[in-house]
Symmetry: C2
Subunit: 520 residues, 2 copies
């Protein structure tokens, strides 16, 4: 953790104004998809994936899943977990997935679109540790969990809660999802996610999402209100908890992000193309399975291909290989006609310059690929092993800049500004001219975190670097946080449900199969 | 300056291996230009620029320049500095500029191409201050100047020296260019730049470049060997030193980068489109003027449009507006058929997370726009008021990642890796398979600065953040630096020339007109 550049305490006396940030808004990308692979190259990868599914196949570690697949015509051998797929069957099943869908928040102002040119940013999810500059790195806990959710609500650049921002290990696993998701519903009115850790858990999550939205079970099926991520257990395998999650979510009409965990050189081939072939094979199998459970079930195609450090085997993120995989992954998702999920990632151990440039090596490809869901968009650190409070703020600035970049340059007569140039003429300046005065207040993106004061002023103010400024800002955002209103009847129904389930003892923590839950 | 995370001195005992970095190589972008404005929108801006040149005109603050313009048919009124241009005349003159050209280093391995899909990275140039974590910020001086040049030579990701990396103010202005450029020729065999500060100075620079290359004056004219940057004195004005620079450089066949200094809201309109109209008008006027001096003279279209902080008037860099201006600026340069110059910029006061994310908000647009020359690619800080030793290394990592990103993903049979997936099968791993063993050593970009060790190892090693690691790396690069070989005859001729000119007193430091030299 950085110990330098900490603001001097004595300077904090004056009350700070409210943190200034752009308003919450849904983002759409007005620019084209950036294609770094030709259509032929994308087709080569896609067809190789279908070869993998036909010839090598995928392990489905759940009898119920293999029964569904066998009934749909996949090649299933009794007593064996390996399932092979005819390419036409896969393509026909994937074609049933919707190209776009709307997701519903408990506050309609926070509803989101997925697919097309929409881009949505999710709060960090699933790290086992939390960190900030003052408290250092600590095991995930419910207090930090709640503070991250508060930040997710307070930061307007964050569109949704992608999962547990940090694992609250001080909540017993049998009741963790109940307490954690109740807290999420109370602390934020943005869309959130549950975890596929067996049938009972995800059913609880879906029921709590239904209660939070105040709708009946039938309406919930047509109104996606809770997300989940299913990681393939790469290579070429889906475990029982994940498959039960797909089954339950698809049956309830709730979106599943199918995300192979294809680290090139470890769980996937050492070539980017090979890792993408495997990613695509696993994604197609998962998406097809969801469509066999319930045709038309909303899904996202998740890309998470990165590479390992070949010296140590450690995962690396925000690398050049990652950037290329995100871009071609987007082309593959578009080939499938399914919304695309990617991530804002880095492998830095501190919220420092490395964390920023690796994140940008992720964010630009996400934008250029038209990723509809950018998971871990704010707060991810250490390749996902820590959620960082300062990184939430650093990322919020980067996300705000992306949002402003997506406002296209207007070229109407007033924008071209010939009148201003006539008025000012050669050698003048534009500070006071009418054209400037009419526009200056909203002309440019106003930063949340960046310090544009001159060196002398910055030095006099204590030389506070971006990471320590982010520290102060996250504290201010928490101090200013106000919980969103929650209907009393809903709050009561939610408490009744959660309290009853806790009284019942929650769920069996041995959920009937291998699997550690989705981390990506 | 960051005071935290400094490596403990006791840990430095073991000798370090040589700094590992990818080799020097010329880069070409295999991916398309990313167009965020439509052809119609680009044409609207271009035509508005021609309106500016016809109707408002540009001040040319040099009689000799106005004589050249009048002779070519521009509208010049005796006794007035304002010159107006017929649009057809401007377009005809600009059309004479070469779309591509080669530039020659004194080491042919460092020759470069400009235009098309080539991208070249230049060392920081022109800040008045130097800084590093230990020494803090200090006024530019010749010792730091030489260390920066050594880094420019040592860092393979840097293709050329864009100017003085920091102003060596301890050299008297009358002889500064002589001593400074002699040092550049001795310390690096990469292409470098001189300054347009009047006729005598730039003639000295051209002559020294000729000597360094060991060619005669005639051959120099057909072999660009030294660059310069000419900033318009925006809005709509060129001063005498700049115009003399264009005249001398064009007559000698040496490339001029015509870069309007169009800060939106200050020296240019407050709208991005308006600032681009002005940038384009000024660039077209400068490029046309160079072509009138000598048809076919190599030029670059320089884009430097950014915005100011409307609260303080301070310039901001690496903003969303900057990103859009870089991209549309590239489209305008391509409309002119002239190589494009842009920059890797930021406004941070420290080599921290802000400096990294603002740089990435510059670098990605440079790459996407096919900027052929990226000035300030390594070491710029504080909006150009400081050259930072640590930022050179942080940028070198980012440039290395860009270079690796430009290697397209291969999709041959071996790359698609079906054999590896057959060998490994579901549930296995790829660490030891034949496909991996054949490729792992060169499969991925190996970082210069990024630390991918796990948190515990990083913590045990002293929690050194990226900025302090960059500090250690720049020191190691300087310790390992070796001057490139220089032919003895050339060294002698260079010394004869420089010593004679110094003995003559150098140049008059009042060079006959307003102007402070190009800062951008």
């Amino acid at each position: 953790m950085s110990r330098g550049n900490r603001p001097k305490r004595g300077r904090r006396a004056a009350p700070s104004p409210a943190v200034r940030q752009p308003p919450f808004r849904r983002l759409a990308i007005p620019y084209p998809v950036y294609e770094i692979a030709s259509a032929d190259e994308v087709e080569s990868i896609h067809q190789a994936s279908l070869d993998v599914l036909e010839e090598i196949g995928i392990n489905f570690l759940l009898d119920e899943a293999r029964d569904i697949l066998a009934a749909a015509g996949a090649e299933v051998t009794p007593g064996e977990t390996r399932v092979r797929f005819d390419r036409d069957m896969v393509e026909a099943a994937v074609a049933k997935a919707p190209a776009t869908f709307k997701a519903y928040a408990r506050n309609p102002a926070h509803d989101l679109e997925f697919g097309g040119n929409a881009i949505n940013f999710g709060l960090v999810s699933s790290p086992p540790n939390a960190s900030d500059l003052e408290g250092g790195r600590r095991t995930g806990n419910f207090a930090d969990f709640q503070d991250f959710i508060r930040l997710g609500q307070a930061v307007n650049a964050i569109h949704l809660i992608g999962g547990y921002p940090v694992e609250p290990v001080d909540l017993h696993p049998a009741i963790r999802h109940l307490e954690a998701e109740r807290a999420v519903i109370r602390l934020t009115d943005k869309i959130a996610a549950g975890y596929c850790l067996g049938r009972e858990r995800i059913r609880d999550s879906i029921e709590m999402a239904r209660i939070a939205r105040g709708v009946d079970a039938e309406r919930l099926v047509s109104e996606p209100s809770i997300f989940t991520v299913v990681n393939a257990n790469s290579p070429l395998q889906y475990d029982a908890p994940m498959l039960l999650g797909i089954i339950e979510m698809a049956r309830h009409g709730q979106p599943v992000t199918i995300t192979p965990f294809t680290l090139s050189g470890a769980m996937a081939p050492v070539t980017v193309a090979g890792a993408l072939v495997q990613q695509n094979a696993e994604a197609l199998a998962g998406i097809a399975f969801a469509q066999l459970v319930r045709p038309g079930a909303p899904v996202l195609y998740g890309g998470f291909t990165s590479n390992v450090d070949m010296k140590s085997g450690a995962p690396a993120f925000g690398t050049p290989e990652y950037a290329k995989a995100v871009l071609i992954g987007g082309q593959l998702a578009q080939r499938c006609g399914v919304p695309y999920r990617s991530s804002n990632v880095n492998a830095s151990n501190a919220p420092d310059a490395q964390s920023a440039y690796e994140s940008q090596m992720s964010l630009w490809p996400c934008l250029l690929a038209h990723a509809n869901l950018v998971k871990h968009a704010a707060g991810w650190l250490e390749g996902g092993l820590s959620a960082s409070f300062e990184k939430v703020v650093i990322d919020a600035e980067m996300l705000g800049m992306v949002g402003a970049f997506l406002d296209p340059v207007a070229v109407g007569e007033g924008d071209l500004a010939l009148s201003a140039m006539r008025e000012v003429g050669p050698g003048g300046h534009f500070f006071g001219c009418a054209h400037t005065l009419e526009r200056y207040e909203t002309a440019f993106y106003a930063p949340l975190l960046s310090d544009w004061r001159n060196f002398e002023t910055w030095e006099e103010a204590g030389k506070v670097d971006a990471t320590w400024r982010a520290h102060a800002l996250y504290k201010r955002l928490l101090a200013e946080y106000e919980p969103p209103p929650l209907d009393e009847g809903i709050a009561e129904e939610l408490d009744d449900y959660v309290d009853r389930r806790i009284a019942e003892g929650g769920i069996k923590t041995d959920f009937g199969g291998p699997g550690k839950g989705s981390r990506a």
